[in-house]
């Protein structure tokens, strides 16, 4: 009994590391004023959990800790994406946190670690109450993170807006859970899936409410409206984390809910996901055309990319391989969007006192003044557009499209190609501004920020290497999905 418990505790060691790490950083905040120290400790905690997640041998999903959480390759793979993006986010904003006025960086790092711990619980939850608690820990920390620049109006407004709409979605999700519990008499995902065959009205309405709540958390059409406002107002590093890590966690849970919990209702949700994916791709790409702020542009682009990932969820079959395509896309997209937000962060630090620090005109003539930054941004834009020099972005789209075609969804691939075509226009608009537009009159002073540039270089290298050798990730992703 105790042996088994000890073994299972070992399997959730990364989670314990994150939770204890959050408390350590919180205590450190009391005793030390050094922002860099807290940032480094946070990075070390995240690095340690990444290291543990990498070491775990792959094995199929099983329920551990008395039915509370799943442990297995799928959980560890998606948790790895979450921890990795949090790690890169911390390093990205290390310098910014150091020099900002009111000393709040301790809270910032604590909340970030708590959000990651909550996201980990959310991903691994094997029953509905755990799922809800994980979601709430993740969301509450994120609401506070969004509003963490208390002197900045748009940050606070973004926080309040995200709080209101996010809590509304959580309640809808929770009502869905209550109805599912009512229809099945159990809160464990596997047991609910067992009785799923009898489709009573209560079960179906519960499933629909759960589905709507998840769409909101990922930011898919028709529950996407909060994404641009929140990503635009929140501090840039937080937006980067939400677009990469939090989205990865939400997609991972969505995949598990649809495939494991509602696996026997595939015909019912297949059409819904089809429409959601198609509308997200079209709306995200077309509305992004008219955006001037880079953060809003990236927000609409993230809606579109969530649509591409949903295509992978759609291709649920042994031959299609949609699951591993979606996981590969998630990992590469995390690097791409972190890189793009990272360049915006580095650049907009120079205009922090202006109203629109992330306006596209801030990029004018960047190639002549800062050729390396411009080259990195070009690489990330090409990756987001899915163009060949940035192999990762290209391969990610290639895998998802192939999976969709193999499982017989040709129509949505045509829509996605149209979306990608439109997307290329607005991504390349940034490149054109950097290389061909004349530089603004006022001089642009970018600070020396070694940790942020290290993150940008790492993201670019990861996109390139994982694009040229996709099997490194793809094989692990395939193992993870097949063990679900």
């Amino acid at each position: 009994m105790f042996d088994q418990l000890a073994n299972e505790m070992f399997l959730v060691l990364p989670l314990l590391c994150l939770a204890v790490g959050a408390l350590v950083v919180m205590m450190l905040d009391v005793f030390s004023g050094s922002a860099t120290l807290k940032g480094v400790v946070t990075a070390v905690v995240l690095g340690a959990s990444i290291w543990m997640l990498c070491l775990v041998p792959s094995y199929p999903e099983k329920v551990i800790l008395g039915g509370l959480v799943f442990g297995g390759s799928y959980t560890y793979f998606t948790a790895l994406v979450l921890c990795l993006s949090a790690f890169l986010t911390v390093l990205l904003a290390l310098n910014k946190q150091k020099k900002e006025g009111p000393k709040r960086e301790g809270e910032y790092y604590t909340l970030l670690l708590m959000a990651v711990a909550g996201g980990y619980i959310f991903i691994s939850a094997a029953e509905l109450i755990t799922l809800f608690i994980g979601l709430e820990i993740l969301s509450l920390a994120l609401y506070a993170l969004c509003a963490s620049e208390l002197t900045n109006r748009s940050s606070v407004q973004a926080g309040v807006k995200y709080f209101m709409l996010g809590s509304f979605a959580s309640v809808i999700l929770l009502y869905g859970m209550a109805l599912l519990y009512g229809a099945s008499g159990s809160t464990e995902i596997i047991k609910i899936a067992d009785v799923a065959g009898n489709s009573s009205g209560i079960f179906l309405s519960g499933a629909a409410l759960l589905f709507c709540g998840m769409l909101f958390k990922i930011g898919l059409v028709p529950f996407h409206f909060w994404v641009p406002d929140v990503y635009h107002g929140a501090p840039t590093a937080v937006s980067a984390f939400m677009a990469s890590g939090v989205k990865a966690a939400a997609v991972a849970v969505m995949l598990r809910i649809l495939w494991v919990l509602f696996g026997s209702y595939a015909e019912l949700w297949m059409d819904l996901v089809w429409w959601v994916a198609a509308l997200s791709i079209l709306l995200g790409n077309f509305v992004a055309l008219s955006q001037r702020g880079l953060k809003s542009l990236l927000a609409y682009s993230s809606i579109a990319h969530a649509g591409y990932i949903a295509m992978g969820i759609l291709a649920r079959s042994e031959i299609g391989g949609g699951g591993e395509a979606a996981l590969y896309y998630l990992l590469i997209y995390s690097f791409m969007t972190l890189g793009a937000f990272g360049v915006v962060l580095v650049l907009s630090a120079a205009y922090a006192d202006k109203r629109t620090p992330d306006d596209i005109t801030r990029f004018n003539g960047l190639a002549t003044t800062h050729p390396w930054t411009a080259a990195l941004m070009t690489f990330f834009m090409l990756a987001l557009a899915g163009m060949p020099p940035a192999m990762g972005g290209f391969m990610a789209k290639f895998f998802v499209f192939t999976a969709a075609i193999k499982s017989g969804h040709v129509g949505i691939v045509l829509i996605a190609c149209l979306g990608a075509l439109v997307g290329a226009y607005y991504y390349l608009r940034v490149v054109v501004a950097m290389y061909f537009a004349p530089s603004a009159k006022e001089p642009r002073r970018l600070e020396r920020d070694p940790s942020a540039y290290a993150v940008l270089a790492l993201c670019a290298a990861a996109i390139l290497v994982l694009g040229v050798f996709p099997q490194v990730v793809y094989v692990r992703a395939a193992l993870a999905v097949s063990g679900m």
Partner: protein, 100 residues
């Protein structure tokens, strides 16, 4: 003996009242109250189903929901205070800087 359906109808009604209030009111504190109303509607459902199935899971869920609701209210009020300090308004669609 009150039937299960009575509890479910009560819960659904409370939920809808909360949702309608949430959607049509602009004052953030009223919106927060509507959220609490909806959470408690869900709690009624959980408790009623728990009694119906004769197992304890639903009641445990209701307790966890109460904890989450308390945390949510605390954070929500803190956010609303900082919103008021920043924009001198409790309106969720007040002087809006979010439009890019």
């Amino acid at each position: 003996m009150v039937p299960l359906s009575a509890y479910l109808i009560l819960s659904a009604l409370m939920f809808v009242i909360g949702a309608v209030g949430f959607i049509f009111r602009r004052n953030t504190i009223v919106m927060l109250m509507c959220l609490e109303l909806m959470l408690n509607a869900v709690n009624i459902s959980f408790a009623a189903f728990s009694r119906f199935h004769g197992n304890i899971d639903g009641q445990v869920a209701a307790f966890f929901v109460i904890v989450a609701a308390a945390a949510e209210a605390a954070l929500g009020l803190a956010l609303i205070i900082s919103l008021y300090r920043a924009v001198k308004s409790l309106d969720s669609y007040g002087p809006d800087e979010l439009r890019p």
